[in-house]
């Protein structure tokens, strides 16, 4: 009986602890990586706020085109 207790205490429990450590260590690393992703990935959206200005750019380009055609026609009249 004492031999079984000794084996359990000196072999089984350390083996279980080692195996659980091998599960826990990657889990901790995954948690750190995910926190890093959250910290940097969640800042993605504010940096894309300028994309809404593209519609203004599009409208301005249309206006420039219209004025450009007037300018070219005026130049042709002058020339």
């Amino acid at each position: 009986m004492w031999i079984g207790d000794a084996i359990f205490l000196l072999v089984v429990i350390p083996a279980v602890v080692i195996i659980l450590r091998r599960v826990l260590t990657p889990a901790v690393e995954i948690g750190a990586y995910v926190e890093d992703i959250t910290e940097h990935g969640a800042q993605f959206a504010p940096h894309l706020g300028a994309l809404s200005e593209l519609t203004t750019t599009r409208d301005l380009v249309k206006e420039v085109n219209a004025d450009l055609e007037r300018y070219v026609r005026a130049l042709e009249r002058v020339g």
Binding site: F8, R21, V34, A42, A45, N65, G79
Partner: protein
């Protein structure tokens, strides 16, 4: 109960506590991971919704810029064609325009200004008239025209 049984029970309790502690730690880490991934997923969805119409807008801007560039090129070509008889005068003094250039009745020295008498159509003008008229009905600004 013998002492060996008590030691065995204590050892089993230690093992169970160790397993439970590690599993609880793993569960807490996974819960935190799920929360963070939910935040990241929301941010990615927001980015996707924000960037979804950008391609069409950029395409439209590129089309407008391209049509503006062609407009400028055509205008410059037409202006250069309009100036071509003046260059032809310098290169071909024996042409019919040389007479108009030497005439003193023009304000700008007779170099083809608006006040000069219009020269008769020469070879250069004939070539110019033979060319097809530049297409003006291009671009979005002529859709309603």
């Amino acid at each position: 109960m013998e002492l060996a049984h008590i030691v065995l029970l204590i050892a089993v309790a230690i093992a169970v506590i160790a397993i439970a502690g590690h599993l609880i730690a793993v569960a807490l880490i996974l819960k935190r991971v799920v929360d963070n991934l939910t935040v990241v997923l929301g941010a990615v969805q927001a980015v996707t919704e924000t960037a979804q119409p950008v391609g069409a807008v950029i395409d439209e801007i590129n089309r407008d810029l391209d049509s503006g560039r062609k407009l400028i090129e055509n205008g410059v070509e037409r202006l250069e064609e309009g100036r071509a008889p003046v260059g032809a005068q310098a290169e071909e003094p024996s042409s019919r325009h040389a007479v108009a250039e030497s005439a003193p009745d023009t304000v700008g020295g007779g170099s083809g200004t608006a006040t000069a008498a219009p020269p008769a159509p020469g070879d250069v003008d004939a070539d110019r008239f033979d060319q097809p008229a530049p297409e003006r009905k291009r671009g979005w600004f002529n859709r309603d025209a």
